[in-house]
Every structure is written in C-alpha cells, then in structure tokens.
Amino acid sequence: MSDVRVLTTASGCHLFSGCGYPAPSISDFYFKPIFTVGGVAFTKPMLLAVVTAVIILTFFFVAFRKPKIVPRGAQNVGELGVLFVRDQILRQQLGKKGDKYLPFVVAIFFFVWIMNLFGIIPLVEFPATSRFAFPVALALIVWVTYITIGIKSKGPIGYFKRMAVPEGAPWWILPLLAPVELFSNILVRPFTLAIRLFANMLAGHLLLLVFGLASWYLFSLSIGLLFAATSFLLTIILTGLEVLIQALQAFIFATLTAFYIADAMETAH
C-alpha cells in the first residue's frame, strides 16, 4: 500500500464517522522513493523486481547445485517447476526442438509469476507487474528474441515475407491483408502481451484494495459490522481468485513467448 493509503486507514476513517469511503485509486500504485541515486528514484516495485531476481537465482542455485539422480527437497521442487514449463508450455508449442529455449522460457515464467505473487504476500501486497514498465520491458525482451530467431532462421527478407504475407490467401487480396498481417505480427503482439499482463494485475490489485479497505472502513459497532464481515469474506475469496489469475497470467505470458518463438522458427504453417 502507498503511504497515502496507510495514512487514510490508520486515521480511523469509519462508517458514520463523517468521512467518506477512501476509494482506492491509481495513486495507490505510486510510491515514495526508498532512496534516490543520481536523480533516479528507487521505489518499492523496483525493490520487488530485484528481490524476485534474487529469489529465483537463489532457489534454482540451491536446487541444482548438487543434482542427484533421485531428487530430494529443493531439487524436487525445482525439477517439478522446470518440467512443468517444459512439458506444459514449451513442448506444446515447439516440440522437442524447442528445448534449447527452455532456460529463457523458465526464466520468463518464474519471473512473471513471482512478481505477480507479491500481490498477495502479506506486508508486501503489491504485484510489481501492475506497474506498466515491467510488462513492457518483458514484452520487449520477448519481441527482440523472436524477431532475432526469425531473422536467423529465415534471413531478413524471408522473415519479413513470412511476417507480411498471410498463408493461404489468394494473391488479389494481399494488398489489403498484408499490412494487417505485418502490423499485428510486429506491433500488436508485443503491445497486447504487455497490456494483458499489466491490466490483469492492476485490476486484481484494485479489486483487493476495494474490498480490503471496505472491510476496514465499514468496521464499526453498527449494521456496518455485517457489511464489514461480508467485505472481509470477499477479500479472502478474491485473494484465492488472484492466486489463480497470477499463475494463469504467468502461464499465458510464457505460452505466448513460446508460441512467438515457434512461429518465428516454422517454415510454413
């Protein structure tokens, strides 16, 4: 929660106490900088990104430091995660030839997932991916990757042709369709990839804020107690929903990454 929000909730603003419901807004997504280095403010979402990277690196280092034939403990969990990404995401799109992109997709999946997961971790309670810059940066990485792979596998002209000329369309309709194909393959793809993740996380966080704040605001020795209890129950249920959505969005992001790579590698559809 932002500093403004903490002030509002700590001030004891309740139903019938004369102050209105402190509705969550976009200002809840802005934080006071923790410290500033040369004019660049270091904020909570940035800290979360660093923490995410450290968590993932540490976990996979510990899990696969001394790999055993029969995995135990952290290695077991690590293998489960990597195999899930390989079998459910990568091989669905690319088959066995995509295994060399496994590290990339595993990194994307776990980074997005842990970043999302911070939205429901107590005391942190902020999904870093609800700040647009993070999905944009991730989408740009994916964009550069699949375009590089495409150009490598088919050459710049071949790849450009592949991106611009829709398969199976008769030649006379190409002038109309080719711009759409090119536009959607080059520009819309990274855009929707970033927007999808960002909007889902923003909406989810706002939803939790609405009901979380409502349970505090409505809490008073009156009929409000009933409303507060309902609101609190909803907060819990929606937190459960968020867990699903956070994992699902990470899954979709990784799936689309694999799909774009597959699309860039394929010779014909």
Binding site: Q92, Q93, E167, G168, V180, S184, T192, F259, A268, H269
Partner: protein, 75 residues
C-alpha cells in the same frame, strides 16, 4: 504464402492446435481495426469526410476475419 502441404510445419496434425493460435486472432482483430481505422481517420481528415474512420475500422475488421479464415482453413 503459397506452397506447403496440409500439415502445419512439423507439428503433429492429430494434436490440438496450440493455445497461441487463439491469441493470434485477438491480435489480428486489434491490428486490423487499429491500422485501417487510423488510415481511414487520416484520409477522412484530409478529405473532410469523417465517415471514412468507421468505414476504415469495418474494412480492418473484415480483413482481420478474412485473415483468421485463411489461417485456420489452411492447415
């Protein structure tokens, strides 16, 4: 692109199509409408015919649907 058999790349045709294919439809819809809508709006601004903006969007939508049909019926 002409040529190529009925199989999709080296994907097993008996397997269901991957989930990414579905998302491609979304990007065609957005891409078609945004591109031709913008073109229509631009030409409409130039010629003083604002009706070209919705017409452009419809053309974009139509070409997006055409693209989806070609893409799906091919393999």
């Amino acid at each position: 692109m002409s040529g190529g058999g009925p199989t999709a790349g080296d994907r097993d045709p008996s397997q269901p199509r991957p989930a990414g294919e579905g998302w491609a439809i979304l990007s065609y819809m957005i891409g078609g409408m945004a591109l031709y809508g913008f073109l229509g709006w631009l030409i409409g601004l130039w010629t003083g015919l604002p009706v070209l903006f919705p017409i452009g969007m419809l053309v974009g939508l139509a070409s997006a649907i055409a693209l989806v049909i070609f893409r799906v019926t091919r393999s």
